[in-house]
């Protein structure tokens, strides 16, 4: 008995040990695999297909980072995380990067000891209701039952919004998007609230998407982006500039189709620097010259990733809106590569 207790203690201790921090890049290289925290399943953003291969808008970030660091976009281990477990998974070292439509907020960036490296989707919180409910505005939701994922910023926004408008509601706390979908479909809640992009993705997965509407009110700012642990700035730089490489590639017209050609022939110095033809930028972040090229090749530039996973041609059908390039009137703006 005593021995069992002792062995148990040792086992528990060794699980806690080894979190030792600092050099994530070396750890990832030594492991030969990137541990990427993703959603448990949100169509378009991160969801496994019929063959168990993860695809999606957030998954593309994981692939780009793996391609930049390890040279192979398939060397990613996807770790599904819920709204509740995601930050713990990141700060405990279970994942190296968290690409799980997480909102960049002050307290998460500071008190939770995370570093958000950028924004890959500018979002806002919305409401979805059944069409036959006859509701056309969130202001008409007085007394409604609302499904909400616990542990999210949306939970706090919801409380604030209803307080500010002096309305009552009954929250139904759910743990994952799948559960929310099921509760909403069963009619256990009148409205489902989460990021508008998430609502669109959820609705696209319904058998009857035409019977559900997303209300016009957007009640919050939800800048979604990948996050890394606070304290390893080098790793943070790699993930940040991988994201910028994807965004810059769209700005300069580099696509997965013409990238090889541009790498050889482009006269644009910015493109040359990005693709590693001149100036070895990669060396400055501990990678080789072609890191950005590989990242872009993984699933295309930002625009390609958007169009393939959540764009207007997909069932999710999101317009670029705020997420267009700054040259097109959007907010996507990559810092200069020089």
């Amino acid at each position: 008995m005593r021995k069992t207790v002792f062995l148990g203690t040792v086992a528990a201790a060794s699980m806690v040990a080894g979190i030792g921090m600092a050099d994530t890049l070396a750890d990832v290289k030594a492991r030969g695999e990137l541990n990427c925290g993703v959603n448990t399943g949100l169509a378009g953003f991160a969801a496994p297909d019929a063959n168990g291969n993860w695809t999606g808008f957030d998954v593309a970030i994981c692939k780009a980072v793996a391609a930049a660091v390890l040279g192979d976009p398939s060397k990613v281990k996807y770790v599904p995380t819920t709204g509740q477990t995601r930050f713990t998974a990141l700060s405990s070292g279970e994942v190296d990067v968290l690409a799980r439509n997480s909102t960049w907020t002050f307290s998460r960036d500071t008190d939770l000891r995370l570093d958000f490296v950028g924004v890959n989707y500018y979002d806002g919180q919305g409401f979805m209701v059944r069409k036959d409910l006859g509701v056309t505005s969130a202001k008409e939701l007085e007394g409604a039952t609302i499904c909400i994922q616990t542990g999210t910023t949306t939970e706090l926004n919801l409380a604030d919004y209803f307080r500010a408008n002096n309305m009552n509601y009954q929250p139904v706390n759910i743990d994952s998007n799948a559960e929310g979908e099921q509760q909403y479909m069963a009619g256990a809640c009148d409205a489902y609230t989460t990021d508008a992009s998430g609502l669109a993705a959820t609705r696209a997965a319904f058998a009857d998407p035409e019977n559900h509407i997303i209300l016009p009110e957007i009640i919050s700012k939800e800048p979604l982006g990948p996050a890394v642990r606070h304290g390893d700035s080098n790793w943070g730089d790699i993930v940040r500039w991988t994201l910028y490489a994807l965004i810059a590639a769209e700005e300069y017209g580099i696509t997965s189709k013409n990238i090889e050609e541009l790498a050889k022939s482009s006269q644009n110095p910015e493109v040359q620097r990005l693709l590693g033809t001149t100036d070895n930028l990669g060396a400055m972040i501990g990678l080789d010259a072609e890191w950005a090229k590989r990242a872009i090749l993984a699933s295309g530039n930002y625009g390609e990733i958007f169009a393939a996973n959540i764009g207007e041609q997909t069932p999710i059908g999101l317009a670029r809106g705020l997420n267009a390039q700054w040259t097109q009137g959007g907010l996507m703006y990559a810092m200069p590569f020089r």
Partner: protein, 418 residues
């Protein structure tokens, strides 16, 4: 033999620590103790070091920050402007509510099933066996989810109660509505509300509630005195005085008076807007959790009760029958009192299990301690270690209190051996 000189003690050698049986067990205990302490020290040290690396400290200041989230079921007034501490207390109260309801129902059901399993009625006894084996052999979480799914998928949404051609109708004379969100039951309302006693921190008790508690508890004591008096008279004279008039006078009459004085009546829930309002909406999460905990624990309690009864020798039953006691009274007066001393200690364990199992509430969105402190609060503040340590301490304290209470009860009911 005392005067035979004892052989001289061999001088102590280090190898004796292992080869001498007198020292060996001690040696191993000391080694294990040192290793356990070392492991514990390493754990704590590791935690402190890693917290330092992460730049996190260990403090409970977050409990006094604004919580910012809403809770569906609030036994005490709570809004999103309150602190995490108050949210924690709300969660703890929700844990207590489901645990207490569960313990009561599981005991009643468990004792009934345990006795019924020993019934001479073949079919009845076998049915109870099926019940016990079904519920104690499947994981509790599955039962919770199954029961919740049944509620959500089968019951109609509140909308179905609306309009002329409603597809669902309320039951119990239009007083209760079963929906896939909650069960809407009537609330007690008063036409002559006496106001409330304010205990501070926005916790209030209505004077009417206090009046009823005083009348019922006071009445119960008076009634006990009356019964004791009746017993004395019966012992002395052989005639039992009529007591029902007096009993009626001490409990029923004052209660009825209070009901009329306060104008107590039921206020049925009414469908207004999206949901039923005016009544009390009992969340399906609570009902599903309560039912699952009850059925699951009752299956274990049934086995404990059965074991306790079987532990009483058959001679006791036969003797009781020989005295002319009917089976029901034999059970109540002879078997159960003796079986209780076998039943109660393991029963304590079941109560503890039920209380701790209630932390599965998050599966059905019931915001108990795990859902508030260990769920949303932990997540919004990022204070994992503090929240988990605090939660462990609270569950531990809760278990200790239940244990202590039950041990006192056990000491009172166990057979006094003279």
């Amino acid at each position: 033999m005392a005067d035979v000189s004892a052989p001289a003690e061999p001088p102590f050698r280090l190898s004796m620590l292992i080869y001498d049986r007198r020292y060996r067990s001690m040696t191993f205990q000391v080694i294990v103790f040192i290793l356990v302490m070392a492991a514990a020290w390493w754990l704590v040290n590791n935690t402190i070091r890693n917290l330092a690396v992460l730049g996190k400290d260990f403090n409970f200041g977050f409990l006094f920050q604004r919580a910012g989230y809403d809770i569906p079921q609030t036994p005490i007034p709570y809004t999103s402007d309150d602190t995490h501490l108050r949210a924690t207390i709300v969660g703890l109260l929700n844990t207590l509510i489901v645990s207490i309801l569960g313990c009561i129902a599981a005991t009643v059901l468990g004792v009934a099933v345990g006795v019924a399993r020993l019934s001479n009625n073949w079919l009845f006894a076998r049915l109870m066996t099926v019940f016990v084996e079904a519920f104690r052999n499947m994981p509790l979480l599955l039962w919770i989810l199954i029961i919740y799914a049944i509620f959500t998928e089968i019951l109609p949404p509140p909308n179905a109660y609306r309009g002329e051609d409603a597809t669902a109708s309320m039951i119990f004379f239009d007083n209760v509505a079963l929906t896939n969100r909650y069960t809407a039951i009537p609330t007690l309302a008063m036409t002559n509300d006496p106001g409330s006693l304010d205990l501070g921190a926005r916790i209030t008790f209505n004077w009417a509630t206090i009046a009823f508690v005083v009348v019922l508890v006071g009445g119960w004591f008076v009634r006990r005195a009356i019964l004791a008096w009746a017993q004395r008279v019966q012992d002395a004279t052989g005639l039992r005085p009529r007591t029902w008039v007096m009993n009626l006078a001490v409990m029923t009459v004052p209660s009825l008076f209070l009901i009329f004085w306060f104008g107590l009546h039921l206020e049925a829930p009414e469908l207004r807007g999206f949901n039923f309002t005016g009544g009390i909406n009992v969340q399906n999460g609570l009902v599903a959790l309560w039912l699952a905990l009850t059925l699951y624990t009752a299956a274990f309690i049934a086995e404990i009760v059965r074991a306790g009864i079987l532990a009483v020798s058959k001679g006791q039953t036969e003797a009781a029958f020989a005295l002319g006691l009917r089976p029901r009274r034999t059970m109540k007066l002879v078997i159960l009192p003796q079986a209780l001393r076998v039943i109660i200690p393991p029963l304590i364990s079941q109560y503890l299990n039920l209380t701790k199992n209630s932390s599965l509430a998050i599966a059905v969105g019931y915001m108990d301690l795990r859902g508030t402190l260990g769920g949303t609060t932990l997540n919004q503040t990022g204070r994992e270690l503090e929240a988990i340590v605090l939660m462990m301490a609270i569950y531990w304290a809760l278990s200790m209190i239940i244990s202590a209470g039950m041990n006192i009860f056990n000491a009172r009911v166990k057979l006094k051996e003279r």
